[in-house]
């Protein structure tokens, strides 16, 4: 069996993650993949357990997500998304599929995927890595109350009303915290989207 790759912690910059995934894409580099696996699989497992998957199933689904990363690595294009964002979308789509299958066990396998992968050509020349680095930094710098609602929305899969219930807050407060958080992050990007 392949030895574990280099310590992933040093590689968790968008650039570092991109470099690992490009090694997987180009050379089917198993050491690079193992480093991605050691970093992302336990986080994807945690992410899947947040919606109620039991530990063993979450383990299995996290492996399935990483299998999609391995098999589709050649489709990865750092101009469209950083590695971390690309892996997040794979995990998110797998979580939706799993939840959907759980709700409708007799689902027709030909039914369309809930969230189609949208991978059009890049519209502008954007340095996705530096953009994502700014997003990460701005996210980490959010005030705790805003950081918390963003995480509950993206990781715990809670809708606005569910966050309000979880935190015993008015719905309007939850929405304004999310809005403020996103405005702050967008401000760091230095452009005006919407």
């Amino acid at each position: 069996m392949t030895a574990p790759g280099p310590a992933p912690r040093a590689k968790t910059t968008p650039e570092g993650m991109n470099a690992l995934l490009l090694r997987v894409a180009g050379d089917a580099d198993r050491d690079a993949f193992n480093a991605l696996f050691l970093f992302f699989a336990p986080r994807i497992k945690s992410y899947l357990m947040k919606i109620g998957a039991a530990a063993d199933l979450a383990d299995d689904l996290a492996q399935e997500a990483m299998l999609r990363v391995w098999r589709r690595a050649k489709l990865f294009d750092p101009a469209k998304a950083s590695a971390s964002t690309w892996i997040f979308t794979i995990a998110r789509n797998l979580r939706i599929d799993a939840a959907r299958r759980a709700a409708k066990p007799d689902l027709d396998p030909n039914e369309p995927a809930l969230l189609p992968d949208h991978e059009p050509e890049p519209d502008q020349l954007i340095d996705r890595s530096s953009r994502d680095e700014k997003i990460r930094a701005a996210f980490s710098a959010l005030p705790p109350a805003q950081y918390e609602v963003v995480k509950l929305h993206f990781i715990d899969d809670l809708a606005h009303s569910e966050i309000a219930e979880r935190l015993s807050l008015p719905l309007g407060t939850v929405k304004s915290r999310l809005r403020l958080a996103f405005e702050k992050i967008r401000k760091e990007l230095g452009d005006c989207v919407e």
Binding site: N34, A54, Q63, R71, R72, T89, I96, R100, H153
Partner: protein
């Protein structure tokens, strides 16, 4: 770019964020995915929200994988072919409904093969099955030119994407690619204008029943 670069009405930031989080019901996700496939500005914004999701995922407390996980991963990976060629690009400039289009798999034979169900003079609809694990309803509405929908509010948040034709109401003028992301309390009476029927893709969300969703999720997960 095409005329669709003139899209004037977009989803609200919170709607786009919920889409990127994977938190919308399926009906609304299909509407947003279709708009995003047509709108460069929202494509960029959606990708930004996905990057926020990635930052959240990186910040999650990890749960250790089973000791044998990496070994069993490579045993599984050995049996699978790796994808070789890049996926074909989505035609983002029209509702041609090519195979890669978000709506194509829901409308197998395209917009022109739909069997419309008359609702009222000049008004027809068809309900599209799009039942995810969060309840929501997806439908197409066809409004003949000159026909006005009676004044109404949406008790619920509603998403309307114009696929063909155009309409005008108190909020503004809506044409192909425009998306109305209206609050429940907005009162409006859309009037179809122009030469061709206005065809809209509409998602309404049913009340959330998240306790039930968790219950329904956990049970089959265990038996999977």
């Amino acid at each position: 770019m095409t005329a669709l670069s003139e899209i004037r009405h977009h989803p609200k930031p919170l709607t786009l964020a919920a889409y990127a989080a994977g938190n919308l019901d399926e009906a609304r996700a299909v509407v947003i995915a279709t708009h995003v496939s047509l709108c460069a500005a929202c494509r960029l914004a959606a990708r930004d929200y996905e990057s926020i999701g990635a930052a959240c995922l990186e910040a999650v407390d990890p749960v250790a994988m089973n000791a044998s996980a990496l070994d069993s991963f490579w045993a599984r990976a050995g049996k699978q072919e790796r994808a070789m060629a890049p996926a074909s690009a989505i035609a983002a400039n029209d509702f041609a409904l090519d195979a890669a289009h978000p709506l194509a798999s829901y409308l197998k034979d395209g917009l022109d093969a739909i069997e419309w169900r008359p609702v009222a003079p000049g008004l027809a609809q068809v309900v599209i099955p799009a039942e995810g694990y969060r309840p929501g309803v997806l439908r197409l509405l066809k409004v003949s030119p000159g026909v006005q929908i009676p004044r109404h509010t949406h008790g619920d948040e509603e998403l309307t994407l114009i696929l063909r034709g155009s309409y005008t109401d108190e909020v503004g003028d809506f044409a192909r690619g425009d998306l109305a992301d209206l609050d429940g309390e907005v009162l409006h009476a859309p009037l179809a204008v122009g030469d061709e029927p206005c065809i809209c893709l509409i998602a309404t969300s049913a009340p959330l029943r998240f306790r039930t969703i968790f219950g329904r999720l956990v049970q089959p997960f265990i038996g999977l």
